[in-house]
């Protein structure tokens, strides 16, 4: 059994093989590989007996699923108006300077992907960002350098 089939089996054991379990399956695959490939989606479509195009439609609808390879850590910086007024642009500049990439890109070493996102619900503590599932708030250029440094060391260990 391929690794993808294993994931599908594991998720469908708890969620079933109906159409409703499509999203949890895609989430599980993405959590493991940080990408949903063509082959993965064909496999999912076959297992659930649905059209592969619909799997693609679902995968491209959600911001937290990607069809391109993302880094080990996905940085989602809030771009909504409150964080903007709290100085999000300076944070973005600092992130771009540190990582040497623009939003939508991944570092060549495959550690970080930088994107902008809509409201994270942390308006009272802006600017805010998510790194994978962990929120970081009250960001300053200094705290950004520490955060990035921490994740980089974690990745290189």
């Amino acid at each position: 059994m391929s690794p993808i089939q294993e994931i599908i089996q594991k998720v469908s054991a708890s969620h079933g093989t109906e159409r409703e379990s499509l999203l949890p399956i895609l989430q599980a695959i993405y959590a493991k590989n940080h990408i949903l490939t063509e082959e993965d989606m064909i496999e999912v479509a076959r297992e659930l007996d649905i059209s592969a195009a619909h799997v693609y439609g679902t995968a491209t609808f959600y911001s937290f699923l990607e069809t391109q390879q993302s880094g080990k850590y996905i940085i989602r910086l809030c771009r909504t108006i409150t964080c903007m007024m709290h100085g999000k642009n300076i944070i973005l500049q600092e992130l771009e300077r540190l990582l040497k990439i623009k939003p939508g890109q991944t570092t060549p070493d495959g550690i970080f992907t930088l994107t902008e996102t809509n409201c994270l619900g942390q308006c009272h503590k802006g600017p805010a960002m998510l790194v994978n599932d962990t929120p970081h708030t009250d960001l300053t250029p200094e705290s950004i350098r520490e955060i990035i440094d921490k994740y980089r060391r974690e990745a290189l260990q």
Binding site: M41, A52, A53, H54, Y56, G57, F61
Partner: protein, 596 residues
């Protein structure tokens, strides 16, 4: 609780069944509410919002297609508020639509264009967003062109592919301003599970999905003096062509069409119906051969049920979705391809034309036939058997271009040979027709008597029910077929690929035990094909269907094996059914394909 509700629409009192939408309630009193995403064959979507109406006492406008009528409602379909809202909605749709109507293939038959005209849209009421959008035009398929710049995302195509065909080749991808109609991973249509049936083309309200047209290629061939151009016309074209030329649905225009084709300059005007009769002979004998091998010889390598192979949409569907059932598919080619193979061999020889200089054109109710003609297997004459496939719509365009007043044309007859046909061939155009035609012949081969139905009308296989079953008991079989004595031949007819899928699943899980299955990819069979005049609706398809069965009863020859030209072709050229020449020219093989 009463099952009727009474409401007022534009001050007219109307009583309708509970659950009826405001749109249908208004239609019942001849008030037209504009629609774009709504289609009679599909579920309600309610996403285009042009059908907005006003309810007295409410601030919000209501989408008439999605709201059921209820007691005491007072609806206004033409208030100032409604008109302004509709106009703005149209202006917003047009701001994201590459509105280059003069160069658009769909111009004149475009619902968005028609509404834009009705509501007198201002020029650039909103910024034209097309220059800022990324869009792709997929013109790689031999059948269908998909142009995202003209898409208004009404999702009729997606619903068609899901609900009528159960394929899901198209989906809605991404969201917000980036939302679009996509195939799997934005692959070109020819690489994905699409069967080219063209039902989406038939339902697209704009020019986003159109057939690939071969009008110029055909004109070039006609105008080339060195070429001999042969044309064949499918059974379902003659009962629908009129619709595209100002004639009511359900009128038979066979004679006028033949006259028009001659006037266009085709050298020989011949009939696909002739090879439809031939298909019945080949397919019927193949069925008998399979029955013999399974029932008498107990040959484990031969599969039943046998399914028909006339519908190229169905062929591609089974190749993608049920590749393990390819051995069940009859190996007989479709009438179009049988015609192509005979045109450049038997017919070319007969009239003394070099097949290299022959151009074979077909007029089909179908977009999938364009793909079929381009299949690499279809070169059995040594050349591409069918060079160009035109849809009914394209032929109507050519007739208009040629300045022919179609309505006033006199009737004419097809050329001979390969122009004669039976009533059995005519009904190929309707769902159940191939089955009926095959049974008329097979029963007679086996018993020496006509099928036991009044007037040869096998009514159990007719109609518009999605899946129909019929059993025919073989009684007093001739000695050669004694193993069939008393056998109840179980048949099944399905149209629309969603129904086909259900039937094939029942075959797979063993819950059915058919001998012979007819499947047509399109709703209603070829008469509802993707290449037929737009619009299509259950009502129009019923009108076409009754025209087909009327044409059948008008024919003097009603059975394929009694077509004198078919008898002649076997005598002079092919030898016998399923013989060596038949196998070389009239049979084919299939290719398993990926399922995405």
């Amino acid at each position: 609780m009463s099952s009727q509700v009474t409401l007022k629409i534009d001050s007219i009192s109307v009583s309708v069944k509970q659950g009826t939408s405001l749109l249908d309630a208004a239609r019942s009193i001849n008030i037209k509410i504009p629609t774009l995403c709504h289609h009679e064959d599909l579920c309600v979507a309610g996403n285009c919002r042009v059908c907005m109406v006003e309810q007295k006492g409410s601030d919000r406008l209501l989408p008439a297609c999605a709201i059921p009528a209820s007691d005491g409602m007072e609806i206004h379909t033409n208030s100032m508020k409604v008109r302004n809202a509709r106009k703005q909605i149209l202006e917003l749709l047009v701001s994201e639509h590459r509105a280059e109507c003069t160069t658009c293939y769909k111009s004149g038959n475009c619902e968005l264009q028609e509404l834009s005209h009705e509501y007198i849209l201002g020029e650039n009421a909103f910024i034209n967003l097309i220059p800022f959008k990324e869009y792709t035009i997929d013109y790689y398929s031999p059948s269908i062109i998909k142009d995202d710049s003209k898409c208004i995302r009404c999702q009729r195509c997606v619903r068609t592919c899901d609900q009528l065909q159960n394929i899901g080749a198209l989906t809605v991808s991404k969201k917000g301003s980036e939302m679009k109609i996509s195939t799997f991973f934005e692959k070109p249509i020819y690489q994905v599970v699409c069967t080219n049936c063209g039902q989406c083309v038939n339902r697209c309200p704009t020019g986003a999905l159109t057939e690939k047209n071969y009008v110029e290629e055909v004109w070039s061939a006609i105008n080339d003096e060195k070429k001999y151009v042969v044309v064949q016309t499918a059974p379902a074209v003659r009962i629908a062509l009129g619709e595209a030329l100002g004639i009511d649905p359900g009128e038979i225009v066979t004679g006028k069409m033949v006259t028009a084709l001659r006037r266009l300059g085709f050298n020989s005007v011949l009939d696909t119906d002739f090879t439809a009769d031939l298909t019945i002979i080949e397919e019927g004998h193949e069925l008998l051969q399979r029955l013999k091998k399974v029932l008498k010889d107990k040959d484990k390598n031969v599969r039943l049920p046998m399914t028909t192979s006339c519908s190229p949409g169905w062929i591609k569907f089974i190749e993608h979705i049920f590749p393990d059932f390819l051995p069940n598919l009859s190996s007989a080619k479709s009438p179009q391809q049988m015609f192509g193979a005979l045109a450049k061999t038997f017919f070319a020889n007969k009239i003394g034309v070099d097949p290299a200089s022959m151009v074979s054109v077909s007029v089909m109710p179908c977009t999938a036939k364009k793909f079929e003609a381009n299949r690499p297997e279809m070169y059995s004459s040594g050349y591409q058997d069918v060079d160009y496939v035109l849809t009914t719509r394209e032929l109507a365009l050519m007739i208009k271009q040629a300045g022919i007043d179609f309505k006033s044309l006199a009737d004419d007859n097809y050329d001979s040979i390969m122009g004669e046909s039976s009533g059995a061939a005519v009904i190929f155009g309707a769902t159940g027709g191939v089955m009926e035609a095959a049974l008329r012949t097979v029963y007679e081969v086996v018993t020496g008597r006509e099928v036991p139905f009044e007037g040869l009308n096998i009514t159990p296989v007719r109609g518009m029910e999605g899946v129909r079953e019929a059993t025919l008991k073989i009684d007093k079989a001739l000695p050669e077929w004694d193993f069939l004595e008393g056998v109840e031949v179980k048949t099944c007819v399905a149209h629309g690929l969603a129904n086909a899928k259900r039937v094939m699943e029942s075959v797979r899980d063993g819950s059915s035990n058919y001998h012979f299955i007819e499947i047509m990819a399109c709703p209603g069979g070829c008469l509802g094909g993707g290449g037929q005049p737009i619009p299509t609706s259950p009502e129009i398809r019923n009108a076409r269907s009754s025209a087909i069965y009327r044409e059948d009863t008008l024919k003097t020859i009603r059975k394929s094996h009694e077509n004198p030209e078919v008898v002649k072709v076997y005598k002079e050229f092919l030898g016998e059914p399923l013989g060596h020449e038949s196998h070389r020219l009239l049979h084919t093989h299939y290719t398993p394909r990926e399922r995405y």
